[in-house]
Assembly symmetry: C6
Homo-oligomer: 229 residues x 6
Amino acid sequence: MERIKTGIDGLDELMHGGIPKGQLVLVTGTSGTGKTIFCSQYLYNGITKFKENGVFLSFEEPSTSIKENLKVFGWDMNSLEKAHQLSFLRYDPYHIEDVFDILESTIRETNAQRIVIDSISALGLHIKDSSELRRMIFNLSETLRKLDCTAVLTSEIVPGSRGLSRYGVEEFVTDTVIVLYYERLDSTFSRAIQVWKVRGSEHSDKLHPYMISDRGIVVSPTEEAVIKS
Amino acid sequence: MERIKTGIDGLDELMHGGIPKGQLVLVTGTSGTGKTIFCSQYLYNGITKFKENGVFLSFEEPSTSIKENLKVFGWDMNSLEKAHQLSFLRYDPYHIEDVFDILESTIRETNAQRIVIDSISALGLHIKDSSELRRMIFNLSETLRKLDCTAVLTSEIVPGSRGLSRYGVEEFVTDTVIVLYYERLDSTFSRAIQVWKVRGSEHSDKLHPYMISDRGIVVSPTEEAVIKS
Amino acid sequence: MERIKTGIDGLDELMHGGIPKGQLVLVTGTSGTGKTIFCSQYLYNGITKFKENGVFLSFEEPSTSIKENLKVFGWDMNSLEKAHQLSFLRYDPYHIEDVFDILESTIRETNAQRIVIDSISALGLHIKDSSELRRMIFNLSETLRKLDCTAVLTSEIVPGSRGLSRYGVEEFVTDTVIVLYYERLDSTFSRAIQVWKVRGSEHSDKLHPYMISDRGIVVSPTEEAVIKS
Amino acid sequence: MERIKTGIDGLDELMHGGIPKGQLVLVTGTSGTGKTIFCSQYLYNGITKFKENGVFLSFEEPSTSIKENLKVFGWDMNSLEKAHQLSFLRYDPYHIEDVFDILESTIRETNAQRIVIDSISALGLHIKDSSELRRMIFNLSETLRKLDCTAVLTSEIVPGSRGLSRYGVEEFVTDTVIVLYYERLDSTFSRAIQVWKVRGSEHSDKLHPYMISDRGIVVSPTEEAVIKS
Amino acid sequence: MERIKTGIDGLDELMHGGIPKGQLVLVTGTSGTGKTIFCSQYLYNGITKFKENGVFLSFEEPSTSIKENLKVFGWDMNSLEKAHQLSFLRYDPYHIEDVFDILESTIRETNAQRIVIDSISALGLHIKDSSELRRMIFNLSETLRKLDCTAVLTSEIVPGSRGLSRYGVEEFVTDTVIVLYYERLDSTFSRAIQVWKVRGSEHSDKLHPYMISDRGIVVSPTEEAVIKS
Amino acid sequence: MERIKTGIDGLDELMHGGIPKGQLVLVTGTSGTGKTIFCSQYLYNGITKFKENGVFLSFEEPSTSIKENLKVFGWDMNSLEKAHQLSFLRYDPYHIEDVFDILESTIRETNAQRIVIDSISALGLHIKDSSELRRMIFNLSETLRKLDCTAVLTSEIVPGSRGLSRYGVEEFVTDTVIVLYYERLDSTFSRAIQVWKVRGSEHSDKLHPYMISDRGIVVSPTEEAVIKS
């Protein structure tokens, strides 16, 4: 099985080598868990370490804002964009009729192999029901598989919910699920990451601590994390 | 009572010999519990160990993707398909008017005895209410019984729910219910299987550990598992 | 007060002699608790031990399937049917306009004294709201009382709910309520029965273990059961 | 403050002498707690011990059935009815346009002072929303106050709910609230009564055990009960 | 900051001298906590101890009934009414178009400084959504502020809810919030009061016991109360 | 990264120097946690300590009332307003078509750098669904970023909810989230503050006590707070 390395310190190890190529990955967590950093790091590493071009499809935040927020990690997304290694697409979730056509043509034009869609929850808010969202994610996965891309989608967990995603369907139509936790124990909040599933592969069955450092997300693959709920 | 062996290591023992022939089996669990692997293993074992042909009806994932994911277990579904021992049907859950007619004619043509429907939850998302889903499952069970088939359906459990199925009706109109758990105790996630009911038969009243090995699902019938909730 | 013995081992003792004649009994529990076995056993014992004819009204499962599943207990329902001691009626819950007329005329023709309706939940799914279901159950109880019949209805408890019935009204319009539990303590599931109420009669205020043996349901009236929730 | 004695053993003591005259009393509890027995005992005692006539308005159960179920306590409601001391009214909750007019004229004709309405929940099921039910209960209370009657209404608590009534408004528009509990501790169920509020009066602030004996409800005013939830 | 003393024993002390003049106060609690007594005591004390006239606006209970229930405390509301120090307004919550105009003109005519609205929950039941209720409360607060009145509103807490009010908006548009608890610990129910917030002022951060005595509500400002939930 | 100091004692320290310039900050908590004080203190400090003008947009409370309530802290908002350093805008949440245009022109005219919107929950009540609110907040954030403003929005937490905001979307479209807690431990209520997230910056991962003193909000950055839930 061919693997796509995220290049995120410590994470590929938990997935026994990386994301299986061609899969749809769901990264999910409450607000503040670093989902957009995760996605960007996946793309940045792809380009700078593995020579794989990327596309970042945002349904909410404009590229200027995303790129600005990433400077703190020393990631110069602008120059990657100018070098045609990275493309930013931003789509208003109200007008998405042709978004996946645009995504597909952008992938073909730029020969991208890594795709990020941030967030599927923002998209879901504008869709009538969860069955339509499920279908849309599924169709997307087929398109991306055909294009030989490995994609990361983000979904949101509302604090207090015990679910894995905002709509309760996202985790069922994706191949790999990574959950980011941010929970309080007594008076301290801590971060933990879990590789919930990887289709067709073994993976760590532990909860591991991670931090958002000045180099982006760093996972401690040999330590175990404890959360309350 | 005639039994259909799943051939899944350790499982038939928990069911006192296998699934009673002609029954409708519900396999249910959260995302990542291996429901599709379970179904495929049931079909693969049927063909290769018990000379019983199979039909896999998918409402979401295309056969190429399913078959690809099973290669890791060494199951060559393609050659079974070519040998007319296995048939894949994929139906869009939006257009299901004649799906059970097609299923029936496929069963007759291929003389199949083992049927998989994966997943009944994907179907349910497109149906107006749970009473219609209940009725559809019931009609299906009558058709399959008439054809002397033993079928496995999958349903999804949303994490945090204490129910056995997505719609709360699936477990009432099926004969046998098998629940797959994936839960965390402290910082480690573990898997457990439970034979919830088998109509007309005794069965294990324990929770047993299982793993997804390179040979597919393997149940430990002599060990007991502990989960939190 | 005249009593109708269920003939279920150990149960009549918990009810201080049996079901008060003419009452409507609700048997409720999650999937797999043996509600249909309970009902069938009530009818079978009525005919074979107490010379009281019975009618089984099913809103879902066909009589062939019900009878087939009961063979494991050695109950030959077919010969009872041929001897005109037992009648099976199956009604599609979508077309129930005249179901209670048919039920009444069947009762009169066969001089039946024991009635089973399995399940009132399947009926409820096709009714607009719980007030209509409540009214329907109430009207049914009046008809049956007039005919001097003692009837058992089944309702379903969705796992995780703390209610006694699917719609929250069934237990209020029936005279006697019997709850069947199937719950896990650590890694073992066990069965317990409770006589929740018997209108106009004292009854056991304990939770008792029961099993589904090869003779059907067997209650241990002198033992106490413990369940978690 | 003038008091109406319920005559239920031990209960009037908890209310410091009985129900304040003219109040609307809510008796609430899950199925099987003896609400109808409570109401009937209130009327029966009123007639036989305190020379106060009564009216029983039922929205569901017919008077024959109610009277039949009370024979076990030795209460001959029929002869009270024949002596024009007790009136039974039964109204279909679907056709209640003039029910309170009929109730009022019956009260005037029979000079009744004790009224029972069983149950307000059955009525509520046929009303569009809880505000309408609230208003209806309030109007009723005004009519009854004008007629110098003291009335007992019943409401239902669905097991698992922590509320005091089916609609969450009943306890706010009644003057006195009495809650009947039936809960399990380990493997034994027990009964407890609580006088939740009495407008304009002190009352016991304890939970007391009660039983349904062959003389009807008997409260132990000097003992305390313990329930789990 | 000018303060309005409630004159309720022990309470003004918890609020560091009373309610800040001109504020809108929410008094909230389950049924039976004495909210109407609280309001009436606030008005009665205002007139008899502080020479401030009052208006009692009721959306449900008629003034005769309210006044009757207060006699137990020795409060002769009738004579206050005759002396034009107290006005009772009762409005049907279905017809409230001009209620706040009437309230305003009554305040002007009687030169009232203390206003009670009992209950805002009864009003809310007849309003389409909680945003309309929020707006109505807010407009009311502006009118009352303009008239230099200090008003007390009551809201209801449904038992089992952890919220502070029936609609979840009342506590956000009022200046001061006082919560009345009535909860069981083992077999005894007890009362506790909490000053949840006072805009622009410090206040006790403790839970204190209170009782409904023959002089009305009496708070123990130097004792602490314990409740379960 | 340029920082905007809140000037709230102890808080900037928790955020490693203040709010990153240009961000949208969510301040959220139950009723009585001091959200409006927080916002006002942010503006007041901006003007008096950092020479940055401010705009306060209120969707509910009129400026006179807000200013009045702040006098207790010695903040003379009126003179700031007269000096054209502070502008108050109040908008009826029912008529918000052009509110963000007005906000933008006010910002331009007064050269404001600090913006407060209190509360986004009051706005949300008048919007059809949470997707529209999410979009509105997002558009607002783009406008404010373009104007180089740093804005604080407030949202409400309904007691008993475990969420961070009234609609479950506010925390996902804001850059920084600060949560104010007011919870009971035994019989005492206490206040705690948490910096939940700061986009692009590290921050304290502890829960800290805060108080509402006569100088406004004061945070204890070196102490840890404990809350129950």
